[in-house]
Symmetry: C3
Subunit: 136 residues, 3 copies
Amino acid sequence: MKTFTDYLWFNTKKRKELINITGDIAERVAQSGVQEGLCLVSAMHITAAIWVNDEESGLKQDVMDWLEKLAPMGDYRHHLTGEDNADAHLKRTLMHHQALLPVTKGQLDLGPWEQVFYAEFDGQRRKRVVLKILGE
Amino acid sequence: MKTFTDYLWFNTKKRKELINITGDIAERVAQSGVQEGLCLVSAMHITAAIWVNDEESGLKQDVMDWLEKLAPMGDYRHHLTGEDNADAHLKRTLMHHQALLPVTKGQLDLGPWEQVFYAEFDGQRRKRVVLKILGE
Amino acid sequence: MKTFTDYLWFNTKKRKELINITGDIAERVAQSGVQEGLCLVSAMHITAAIWVNDEESGLKQDVMDWLEKLAPMGDYRHHLTGEDNADAHLKRTLMHHQALLPVTKGQLDLGPWEQVFYAEFDGQRRKRVVLKILGE
């Protein structure tokens, strides 16, 4: 059995961003030497998410607008602590903070249009994603 | 360590459907010979999801109506590409596209009412779900 | 390869509760002896979820209020069966019912503020969460 762990670091220029990390993950899968296994991709900060969907600029704007509608910026109890990012916690919750990617014959076993995105909702600071690969 | 990979294919008659795949997965778990492990079930097309919930016709209609309310069909930027299915991408996001099922003593270790559904939001074409089992 | 399985039982006093189970999980990880691996945490009842977010009382109230807004109590087809908890099924769906936690050097490999919560939406009865750890 093989295990492999690595971390991806982000420091986005904007508060909200979608960053395609499929290539970064594929690189780590190759490094790991795992032929058959599972690769966990998980945002370690609680105002960021992982989204598996389409690399299409219109849809990426659509999803960000839609999240703003379902989990808008505004007044929240959380802000009594001095924070201003409760909406980002809710957006992470909607998008889910992790994905588990199958590895088959040494490669990410994704569908034809599946791309993996780091979804930042409270950026402009250093934040991490953990990659953990298990297999043989 | 054992690994097992298989794919389930779907081609639904309707645009939106919920299909119970618990039996199909249980069959693959038996085939895999894994006694203790984890089974990933992941929709490989970005307008479909995996839902773990109740086999009850009323609730299944409720969840489809509710998704229509939170992620309605309509005008989206994505449709400038010629597509008409942005709502299906959003519905997949709400439902999440995958589940990880524990395997204990050679069987799916699910709660008394947990059933696994393939949730199609843009059907009438061939689409796949990957099953990947890891264990011993 | 090591595998470890255990179950956490809950019987909440209120219909809806968020219970921090990070310590309970960390205990099981230590018991398992796994140094490098993955730990599945999954709610086995279909009106409960697992939420990985902040141990902050204001935010915890915010998220419960927000879920009530997106998936309100009310009239649903599911209630024709005699049940009254369709909203709880929808809330579980929004929050997602499981999380997969990396284990690194024998410990839960969580971000600085990541805490794991059992999210109950139809409590006051005995319900279970399964923990399944795979690794070496």
